[in-house]
């Protein structure tokens, strides 16, 4: 560009002649021009611009945010959500049909009825297992999906299917797609947050919140349960508080002395401002993660008063606080294979339920009472369900159930989903989904729709090809379950 023949004013020129003054509009300028988390301030020729500023969806959305509770391992639908009287009759007898196993060495063909009782709940009268009193109490606000299917019998591939739409890794997760499409309502908090379990990461670890080949600003930010909770965003423990304030004060002094020697260099001023902004982000995150100012009754609602549920309850409450502050997508994980009950299901399934059930229901109730449920999708479910037959057939204490991705259950609530309904059916044994089947593609298409996004139009061009979450695999908008 030649100044003599250039029709447009460059940014630097603009700044120099407009008396650029940071205190006046520096931060707003940085936020707007550079995007909070990663857009270049000097766009290159043909280099696309990516940021996290809020964006309009394809059409009017119902949902603005989503909280997903990912129950990694595969909760037993037979024992929790999908009562099968036929199994009670066949208990202990040979299974009359074909079964697909994952672990052959400990497989059997002996039918195992659920050890837990079902009862009708709510206005809708949906039958729920006695292991889930929390879910039973919000059943009128949720859709129970009993005909889920992904049909890949391994944890890794099944997790990929639910998280990124295909059974392979390397692709962006749904949270990544949502933030790519819609940005974030908050420029002070990460747009996409993964709340990990202090007991460990789920199978596939960090791949659960990867941006795949989307720009890295759409990666989920992992928030740990212990300090430092957000890498890079939190100061190292020994530098927290006064130590960091001293450091920032001194840095500011140095930078201003340097600026005095370089008058007119707006890049230097912008970098000084970016430290101020960074410190602000740190404060905002700290504030969002701090539940100490929440009332006792709120904490009770989430089970934070009970040691057995306090950990998950705290994360559920944080999830609400994040969404309240404009975060687009929050996913909570349970520890590695929490729900993978190959053996010892009689003892360990109730424990797994206890850990999450009351907090999960508390989250729905709290969102509802704050008027946030209508615009927030809540999801509870894992990557698979379990088989109607016994695995480890060697005594009651040892019995368990093997994987089942041909028919399983999960629930969704809020954000435009109907309340008080069940959708989908498995066969009489709970092995295969047979009616109103919802595949992971259907599920994704429906979620995107509630956010005002057409799953065939939300694309990212890679290698000259328009890539999408549902990846031309179909993807039925499940109209029956949305308002």
């Amino acid at each position: 560009m030649n100044p003599q023949n250039s029709g447009c004013l460059s940014r630097r020129h603009f700044l120099a002649t407009s008396g650029f003054h940071l205190s006046a509009f520096g931060l707003a300028y940085l936020l707007k021009q550079d995007g909070l988390l990663g857009a270049p301030d000097k766009p290159d020729l043909e280099v696309p611009h990516y940021d996290l500023l809020p964006k309009k969806p394809h059409y009017e959305p119902q949902a603005k945010a989503m909280i997903s509770m990912f129950m990694q391992g595969g909760p037993s639908q037979i024992d929790l959500f999908d009562p099968k009287p036929e199994l009670d009759k066949l208990d202990g007898k040979k299974f009359p049909g074909d079964i697909k196993y994952d672990d052959a060495a400990h497989a059997s063909t002996t039918v195992m009825a659920s050890a837990w009782k079902y009862q009708k709940h709510g206005q809708c009268g949906t039958e729920v297992s006695e292991l889930l009193p929390g879910f039973a109490s919000i059943v009128d606000d949720a859709v129970l999906l009993r005909g889920m299917q992904s049909s890949v019998n391994n944890h890794g591939q099944a997790i990929y299917a639910l998280q990124n739409g295909r059974v392979l890794g390397g692709r962006p997760t749904i949270g990544s797609w949502l933030t790519y499409a819609l940005g974030s309502e908050s420029q002070e908090l990460p747009a996409y947050v993964a709340l990990t379990d202090p007991r460990g990461l789920p199978v596939l670890g960090v791949d659960n919140w990867t941006n795949g080949w989307l720009p890295s600003i759409y990666q989920g930010t992992a928030v740990r349960s212990k300090e430092p909770r957000i890498p890079n965003l939190d100061a190292a423990p020994y530098l927290r508080g006064e130590a960091q304030d001293n450091y920032l004060g001194f840095l500011n002094q140095l930078n201003h002395e340097h600026l005095d020697r370089h008058p007119g260099e707006s890049d230097l001023e912008a970098r000084i401002a970016s430290y101020t902004l960074a410190a602000k982000l740190q404060t905002a995150a700290k504030e969002a993660l701090d539940i100490s100012k929440e009332s006792e009754s709120t904490k009770r609602l989430y089970g934070i008063d009970n040691p057995a549920t306090a950990e998950f309850g705290t994360r559920c409450l944080i999830a609400r606080r994040l969404v309240e502050r404009g975060v687009r997508f929050v996913q909570l994980f349970t520890a590695n294979q929490t729900w993978d009950h190959h053996m010892g299901i009689i003892g360990s399934l109730p424990a797994a339920c206890k850990y999450v059930d009351i907090p999960a229901a508390g989250l729905v109730k709290d969102l509802k009472q704050r008027g946030l449920l209508d615009s927030t999708i809540v999801h509870w479910g894992g990557e698979m369900g379990r088989l109607p037959v016994i695995q480890y057939d060697s005594g009651r204490a040892k019995v368990g159930r093997d994987h089942n991705t041909y028919g399983f259950s999960m629930w969704v609530a809020g954000g435009g989903f109907k309340g008080g309904m069940t959708y989908g059916e498995t066969d009489e044994f709970g092995h295969h989904a047979v009616k109103d089947i919802v595949s992971h593609h259907d599920y994704h298409a429906t979620i995107l729709h509630l956010f005002g996004l057409d799953h065939t139009k939300l694309t990212f061009t890679r290698n000259g090809t328009a890539m999408s979450l549902t990846d031309n695999q179909g993807g039925r908008l499940v109209k029956e379950i949305i308002t």
Partner: protein, 724 residues
């Protein structure tokens, strides 16, 4: 040559003062080597009052091996260097790409004439006698150079059969993009589908250019990335490998026998659990070949899954049932096999772009693709340079060269673009060098010399530099000397009100531009200042991994196959402190620290980097593990070298970080900060914490904690981030 940039040390500058010696030293040292000057270098240069002190400094820097790492990196950007194939989701590692990176660094350090450098990269294979066996180092270099044409994403090994046409075509068109932007500074890509809207490039030209490279690609007889590697193994080494393999096979046979034995045992135990009358039928059914089983046998097996699914693959699952250690016993054998195989001579490969004998004899035809769609070929075209260029400069590219084992197309093209008369090659190259020195090219759009690009600010200067470059035998080092000893380069970066008024963007170079250091320079300079930099050159890339929070860091991945952390830690023994150019550049896993500071994604290459200013950069500087570790090492170095007196420490740290002394005000502020921070850590002592394996714990003493904090401030300050 315009007066504002004439290279003349005797002539006084026109309006602005020269940069002082310290500023100039830091500027030129970082510019040429990507590292800051050491205290010794500062002292030597300041003490050198000879009139040619600066010129000798430049010579010394150009002779440093770090020069090739810095300027090789610039070339790797435009070549689109990456250590993985990209394109598909799995992004497989490209294990031998580093051989090309090393070739580039070595060539730049050796000041290989750029015409030769370009010719080798376009047609090195056509200069080497076939077959490519028992190669001399020079021949290996020429073949490795052609990996320039193998840098783009290539998903053809993993893409499905139905997607092959598209995937292969993508490799060709991306390679053309790299070639045209490197040599011509033009984006010819859009002429793939239609006549270029703004530049005089008809669609047919694109395909003529493509025809030059077609025989090496050969869409119909495609070779996947691994099939294009050339092995450097000699016949002798190959014979030895075969002998070792034979030894390993012996153990393998033993292992398989053992495996069968175990299966028999488990089968017997499993059968014992079954009713007596079922045992023999089950055994017979199990032993019957799957296809030959009767319906009854199939039914019987299905009812007894623990027998039905017993196989070498599932054997390990039964260890739990019987408390056996079959898996462990078999592992002893497979470990032994692996141990034997380790004795095989290592097979080294080089990535290369070559033509097969068939393609050379009957070159695959090139067609114009209707709307760029490889499934709609139209007219056949002959190889040629762009028409707009051939009008000035005929290219004469043969269709084939019967006397030679290759078509000769690329060699003729390479000779033509490097003959010194080609209108674009030298201008584009020289402009790019200018861009790196000044932060902006004479044509600011370094990758677009076309109509949509920026017009040159100093067209005569560009022409003059290009002709000087050719006259100096395409010596890059000579070109650097010419530029960095110019008055323009040696100016102060200070603004003046008058100048800001007429030329606020400094298009006319009335002063030097201040520039933010690039991602690699940032990381490398921190390592250099902390004293940790490992100067080891070349070789396989330093691995990166995804840590437990999803950040990409330097390290060996020890997660299990399901992506779960195993808690294992494999030390890198100092390799973690190597320069950034040696860190693995996996397309899907860019090192987080570098990516935050605008490390480009190679899709397919990078013509010009961004220099963004965003909050995550500040967060990485305030809280990032790398920054905190380096600050601690820096503090330890300062104390180690000058003792524990605060004033001495501050001055030494300043010298290490910025190559100069603090001003009185800075010194005063620093002393006050150290005192304040020390007092803080004394009254509020740091609680000791467990430090995970491979992690660096915080400093332990209040004085060291304060000094680390001080060092962190220096490493995160604008004075460090920007070069005057």
């Amino acid at each position: 040559m315009p007066s504002s940039s004439r290279s003349s040390s005797k002539r006084a500058s026109l309006s602005v003062p020269r940069a002082d010696k310290q500023t100039l030293l830091r500027r030129v040292t970082i510019d040429l080597t990507g590292l800051p000057p050491t205290p010794e270098e500062v002292a030597t240069f300041l003490a050198d009052d000879a009139p040619d002190a600066y010129e000798r400094l430049v010579d010394r820097l150009l002779a440093s091996p770090h020069y090739g790492e810095r300027w090789g990196r610039h070339w790797l950007d435009i070549a689109g260097y990456a250590d993985s194939d990209g394109y598909t989701d799995s992004d497989p590692a490209r294990l031998w790409a580093y051989r090309y990176r090393d070739y580039v660094i070595r060539s730049i350090n050796a000041d290989k004439p750029i015409d030769e450098f370009i010719r080798e990269q376009l047609a090195g294979d056509e200069m080497v006698k076939q077959p490519y066996k028992n190669l001399s180092p020079g021949d290996i270099d020429k073949l490795t150079a052609t990996a320039f044409l193998r840098m783009v994403p290539d998903g053809t090994a993993a893409a499905a059969t139905g997607e092959q046409t598209v995937a292969r075509n993508a490799v060709v068109s991306e390679t053309l993009k790299v070639v045209s932007s490197t040599l011509f500074g033009l984006t010819v890509g859009c002429a793939q589908c239609h006549d270029h809207k703004y530049d005089p490039i008809p669609q047919v030209d694109y395909y003529r250019l493509r025809a030059i490279f077609e025989p090496g690609f050969d869409l119909e007889h495609w070779r996947t990335p691994n099939a294009r590697l050339i092995s450097l193994m000699t016949d002798e080494e190959r014979a030895k490998a075969a002998a070792v393999e034979k030894e390993a096979q012996v153990v393998e046979t033993e292992r398989k026998a053992k495996e069968n034995e175990f299966i028999e045992k488990v089968l017997t135990w499993e059968l014992e659990k079954k009713p007596e009358e079922l045992r023999e039928p089950l055994r017979t059914a199990y032993r019957t070949e799957a296809k030959k089983r009767t319906p009854e046998q199939l039914k019987l097996l299905k009812e007894h899954p623990t027998i039905n699914q017993l196989s070498p693959g599932s054997l390990y699952l039964y260890d739990r049932t019987y408390g056996t250690k079959h898996q462990a016993e078999l592992k002893v054998f497979s470990d032994k096999e692996a141990e034997i195989r380790k004795r095989k001579p290592a097979e080294i490969f080089i990535p290369a772009f070559t033509e097969t004998a068939t393609a050379a004899k009957t070159p695959p035809p090139t067609f114009v693709f209707s709307r760029g769609d490889p499934q709609q070929p139209k007219d056949k075209v002959e190889p040629s340079d762009l028409t707009v260029l051939t009008t000035f400069h005929p290219s004469n590219i043969p269709d084939s060269t019967p006397a030679q084992p290759t078509t000769g197309r690329r060699l003729a093209f390479a000779m033509s673009v490097t003959d010194g008369k080609h209108p674009l090659t030298t201008r584009v190259f020289v402009n790019r060098v200018w861009h790196h020195h000044f932060g902006r090219g004479i044509v600011a759009s370094v990758g677009d010399f076309g109509h949509l690009g920026d017009k040159p600010t100093h067209p005569e200067l560009l022409d003059w530099l290009a002709s000087e470059f050719v006259a100096e035998h395409w010596s890059l080092k000579q070109l650097h000397r010419l530029i960095v000893t110019s008055t323009a380069y040696r100016q102060s970066s200070e603004h003046t009100a008058a100048q800001d008024h007429v030329d606020p963007d400094n298009y006319l170079l009335g002063r030097m531009n201040i520039q933010r250091i690039e991602a690699e320079t940032l990381r490398d300079a921190m390592l250099a200042i902390s004293g940790k930099l490992n100067p080891k050159m070349f070789g396989a890339p330093v691995p990166v991994k995804t840590d437990e929070d999803g950040q990409i860091v330097v390290g060996v991945d020890t997660t299990d196959t399901a992506g779960r952390p195993t808690g294992k830690y494999i030390p890198l023994n100092g390799d973690e402190f190597r320069r950034s150019v040696y860190i693995q550049m996996r397309r899907s896993k860019p090192l987080g620290m570098l990516e935050t500071f605008d490390l480009p994604r190679m899709e397919p290459n990078c013509e010009r980097r961004n220099a963004s200013t965003i909050a995550p950069q500040s967060l990485a500087m305030m809280n990032g593990e790398f920054t905190l570790d380096e600050a601690k090492y820096f503090a330890e170095r300062v104390t180690r070298e000058v003792g524990a007196d605060p004033t001495t420490e501050i001055k030494h740290a300043w010298l290490l970080a910025f190559g100069c002394a603090p001003t009185d005000a800075e010194l005063k502020d620093s002393i006050a900060f150290l005192a304040k921070q020390t007092a803080h850590f004394k009254t509020d002592p740091v609680k000791p914490e467990a430090v995970a394996k491979g992690k660096e714990g915080p400093p332990t003493e209040p004085a060291m904690q304060a000094l680390s904090s001080f060092c962190q401030a220096l490493l995160t300050s604008n004075e460090f981030f920007y070069v005057d």
